[in-house]
Symmetry: C2
Subunit: 334 residues, 2 copies
């Protein structure tokens, strides 16, 4: 069977371009025992994937040049030689950017056919929701009444972090990059305040939004935004460092104010993490997230881009700030 | 009674100078009930005091301009109206830079008259030793076989950190600023390796000294030294951030490579701390340190400067790297 595949054509320096990716046609072999043939329904694009395009030590191995990009994908089973999966099952897993792909079944999770929700497994109940939950709970350890600041607040992770903060009784302040996102955070997601980091008086606005300082800073962004938040840290502040999207496309070394002196004077903790380190917490986290979602306490926003071809550009949209909430590419109907 | 006193004459910008301090004569009033008259024997000079010279939010309130500098002092009781203290007792506490001072007795600890050691209470069994112990154990959490790197390794805190690391079974690599210090660390204190950060090929030497990367980085220094260590961090590295002496005398904001991306890719933890946050661990820590000291497993190095007048210059010596181990000023004999 023939399918289209998107490969890493060359490693980007700085921002990926049209030359970074290549769409090509490949032929899939016939299934062997235990294998399933999957048709991609939704593919997730996530900032961490930029790191995998570098040939550098990180928590996930780099993508190989010439091989398919892989990521979170929801797919339906169209042929099966695996007794665990029947034709028509909808599954989620780490799969290649292909319209069709073959899997051994390993690592695939079946979605509940009753729920009818085919995207939550990539977002609020998937990697990004779990990232928000474990990073905030295990490192941020927010207490009711504390001030939680979230950068990248309108993104897939940040939007969930802020809402969990509200559920836990925090004052929640979001940082985002457009007036629409700022409005969405306060008017739709219940944030106490939100600030646009592109405003000329961003630092002053952030300061007024945090009259009692900052106890937990969930950082998705890094760079100047983080510099501004650090000036407001309270004693014993906790900083889950989830991502540094502002820096991912820097071609050279980035410089900025040295922040470690703040850690000393505030006795603050900054910890990088990756969601898979907290796999033990996943079932509890998923149950909580599902409960809050069902109760209407948690809303999940999505930005859906249409069409397999648009995967590379959708990915680049993460760095342009195109998305509100989880950014997904719709490839085929279920 | 008349005494000399050293006050903060003006807040320094950048490196303190002769104008920062003023020695003046004052008269002490007669003792009232509960008070003791103390003669300073040894006064401790410590890097954290630089922070107190700024009018800035930190973990200890700033020194007031026009008032005496205070710090760790060993003193003998020369007059007492407090039943807890007899003339001849030797005590340690936070006291002003004066040849004589009056205390309410609050916060003073009596030294064991049997021990005959009048300086350990300011160093290995005092603030700096406890800082080393709690920072390493509570934040660094070193495991046998791991690599521990210590910056400011020849200083009062660093020299103890490295030796505790050896006792706990780590590979210990020290960073210091002279060839003599580097030699002392390996030849006298048992470090596995030591590197001079002033060497042109410092980064390369550090890398060869850490063939298995860095699991715990006890940071006293910050700046370029920390940048070099960060490139070697292993996954799940822990970084107790004890001080940033390289930055304390920066007149303006300091810039350097942004380090938080390393926290993400290595899932590393960096935490600032101050010893007094761990007061609950002090008795256990003091007992352990005393036991290791008695067993000869722990050596404490001291640099003693002679004479009350030299307190300001001794303090500045911390930033010139004059000291090996704990830096003290001898003011009077017991």
């Amino acid at each position: 069977m023939d399918t289209r595949q998107i490969i890493l054509a060359q490693r980007p320096k700085g921002m990926p371009t049209a030359e970074t990716f290549l769409v090509r046609d490949i032929s899939l072999p016939a299934l062997t025992d235990e294998e399933v043939l999957l048709q991609t329904v939704y593919a997730s694009v996530d900032p961490y994937m930029r790191g995998r395009m570098n040939d550098a030590k990180s928590y996930v191995p780099p993508y190989a040049v010439g091989a398919a990009i892989t990521g979170g994908v929801v797919a339906k089973v169209v042929e099966s030689r695996n007794t665990r999966f029947a034709v028509g099952d909808v599954v989620v897993g780490e799969l290649p950017w292909q319209e069709y792909s073959i899997s051994s079944g390993k690592g695939l999770l079946k979605l509940d056919p009753q729920s009818g929700d085919h995207t939550a497994a990539l977002g609020v109940l998937g990697m990004t929701g779990l990232t928000a939950y474990v990073g905030l709970q295990e490192i941020g350890k927010p207490k009711a009444g504390e001030t939680l600041v979230v950068s990248g607040a309108a993104g897939a992770v940040g939007s969930i972090v802020g809402q969990i903060g509200k559920i836990l009784g925090c004052r929640v302040v979001g940082i985002a990059g457009t007036a629409d996102k700022v409005r969405m955070l306060t008017e739709e997601l219940g944030f106490d305040a939100a600030v646009n980091y592109k405003d000329a008086d961003f630092s002053a606005k952030l300061k007024s939004a945090c009259p009692s300082g900052v106890d937990v800073y969930f950082d998705n962004v890094g760079g100047d935004v983080t510099d501004a938040v650090f000036r407001l840290l309270n004693d014993f502040a906790r900083i889950p460092v989830c991502g540094q999207i502002a820096l991912y496309n820097q071609a050279g070394p980035d410089v900025g104010p040295r922040l470690f002196a703040y850690l000393v004077t505030r006795r603050a903790l900054a910890q990088g993490f990756i969601v898979s380190d907290y796999a033990k917490q996943f079932s509890e986290a998923r149950a909580k997230l599902a409960e809050w979602l069902a109760a209407g306490k948690l809303k999940h926003r999505e930005t859906i881009v249409e069409g397999f071809d648009r995967l590379p550009d959708a990915f680049l949209g993460l760095f342009r700030g195109d998305n509100t909430g989880k950014l997904l590419v719709h490839v085929a109907d279920v």
